[in-house]
Symmetry: C2
Subunit: 317 residues, 2 copies
């Protein structure tokens, strides 16, 4: 069984590659819910949905979020009403949020609802939210104002400097059922090439997750989300720099050093290898840009082979 | 100023007729919220929306609910997910519920949200919910089970006998701001041809409304929702019979006798006139079937003229 700590798009692409190699029952993702928000009364879980849609082949890959062949009648009408339309929810996507919100109101856990959505949409993996309890990523901007993740990411288009990040509610949160066990039992644990602070950080903030990973450090392979010191998508590079790290794969290695024995980084970052190793982390060079499924599958292959012991090729049963 | 106690379709049609004769600032409807429900986390107010959509010219008149030129992408997707689709919410209609739910979550009152929707959609009236507090119509079925209004009306298609009706929360509810004043100050108060028990009953159950109406009894004109002992739409006839009234306009007169000095009833019910008068209610015969806007406007004209003193034709300024 392969366990992946997952944020949004980068994680979804690597998971899609892994899904070419690993049977659904053996592929477990632990998804970030720090981006979740309640909007119009609806519980929206952007990262869980990006993973589900991508693996089900339903994602708008060009746009990087939402459903393909999406329609926008509801948002058009909401605009006419003067409602909040800064966070665009397509018609098909909205059905997911209606479903989730109704099921949660009926008493289902986010874990249960997520499993139902994965099954109904046909995503070939097991997807666990990091926690059934609310954890909310909040950012303190340079001007001292604290904003919710989506206000920073969507409304402000992450074009503002950040002074601090916290994960509200994390201290009181429990890992969702199956999370610690998946980490404990996986042959390989993968930290996806997601934003270390905004996407993986919330998962690591859930009590019990860091020690569980540290106990498996030799089998934990992180993939750097930076190529040539830049994020493929989003503000990971700027954010790392703003919060006192370097915008480099070496800094990513140091960020994860206590938890991940191996870092996969792009060939472009070969100059970082010495620094990665100096942090006590094995460095594995590979092409990490997942511009199509073939490249994502290649990276998945590297990740499965990247630890001190490579994972045996699974029986494609 | 004309004040109308309003349910759904029947009230909306009469209001549309009145809006041909009365300027928007002088036409106040007090809407039933006993049908309101929270579904998928969204606050749905079916009767308020039917009135708003109808007066804004946006209603699906043939269907009797919802928006015209409606689209159904969200429901189609929700069906695919195995979600609850028994209560059909079209894409355009959903925007209303998203807007309302978001504004309520921000601390706006239902009165405020309703005024915003009326203004944005361009409905030519003032529409007040009967209360900003939750009042929920609940029905005890013949088998003893108690169900919410929409379960009876939509899921069970009102094809089950009812033993009792109550308005949960009514005792603790306050009339919404402006409700009692509209009743006190109106030149004419109209009880729309809505279901007396399911649509007008909840309004009357809000503390203060009955005495306010009783104090204006001479100026209150009710319109019977029955023609020839049958409801134009919905279960009003059966329900009146099941709850120990007759399914007749005479029974409607008795039902409202303490509150309404006049009843407008259809020519077909001319045999009921003596019984209406025996209940101490003036009887005014008129064609009450509002099959088009011209007929609705004619009925509106009758209603304005039907009291002991007819309302002067308003200045169409």
């Amino acid at each position: 069984m392969i366990c992946v700590l997952a944020g949004g798009v980068g994680a979804a692409r690597l998971l899609r590659g892994l899904a070419q190699l690993v049977p659904p029952s053996e592929l477990v993702a632990i998804g970030n819910t720090g981006d979740d928000l309640v909007l119009h009364g609806l519980h929206v879980s952007p990262d869980l949905d990006t993973v589900t849609y991508t693996l089900a082949g339903l994602a708008d890959e060009a746009q990087g979020w939402g459903r393909r062949e999406e329609r926008w009648t509801v948002m058009e009408e909401l605009e006419r009403l003067g409602g909040q339309t800064w966070f665009r929810l397509g018609d098909r996507d909205l059905a997911t949020h209606l479903y989730r919100t109704q099921r949660l109101a009926e008493g289902a856990t986010l874990t249960e609802v997520t499993a139902e959505l994965v099954a109904r949409l046909g995503a070939p993996l097991r997807l666990l939210p990091m926690s059934d309890d609310p954890v909310r990523t909040r950012l303190t901007l340079a001007d001292g104002r604290e904003v919710a993740f989506q206000e920073y990411f969507v409304a402000l288009r992450h074009q503002v400097p950040v002074r601090a990040v916290r994960y509200l509610g994390a201290e009181a949160a429990q890992p969702a059922p199956g999370v610690l066990r998946a980490i404990a039992e996986a042959e390989r644990i993968v930290v996806a090439p997601s934003n270390p602070i905004l996407s993986i950080g919330p998962v690591l903030a859930v009590p019990g997750v860091r020690p569980a990973l540290a106990a498996r450090r030799d089998d934990v392979v992180a993939v750097s989300p930076l190529i040539g010191g830049r994020a493929v998508k989003g503000p990971a590079d700027r954010l790392l720099a703003e919060l006192g790290h370097d915008a480099s794969s070496a800094a990513v290695a140091r960020f994860y050093a206590e938890l991940a024995g191996t870092l996969v980084l792009d060939h472009q970052d070969r100059d970082d290898v010495a620094s990665v190793q100096a942090a006590g982390v094995r460095a594995v060079l590979a092409p990490t840009l997942m511009s199509d499924l073939a490249r994502a599958t290649e990276l998945a292959r590297v990740v499965l082979a990247a630890g001190p012991a490579s994972v045996p090729a699974p029986d494609p049963a």
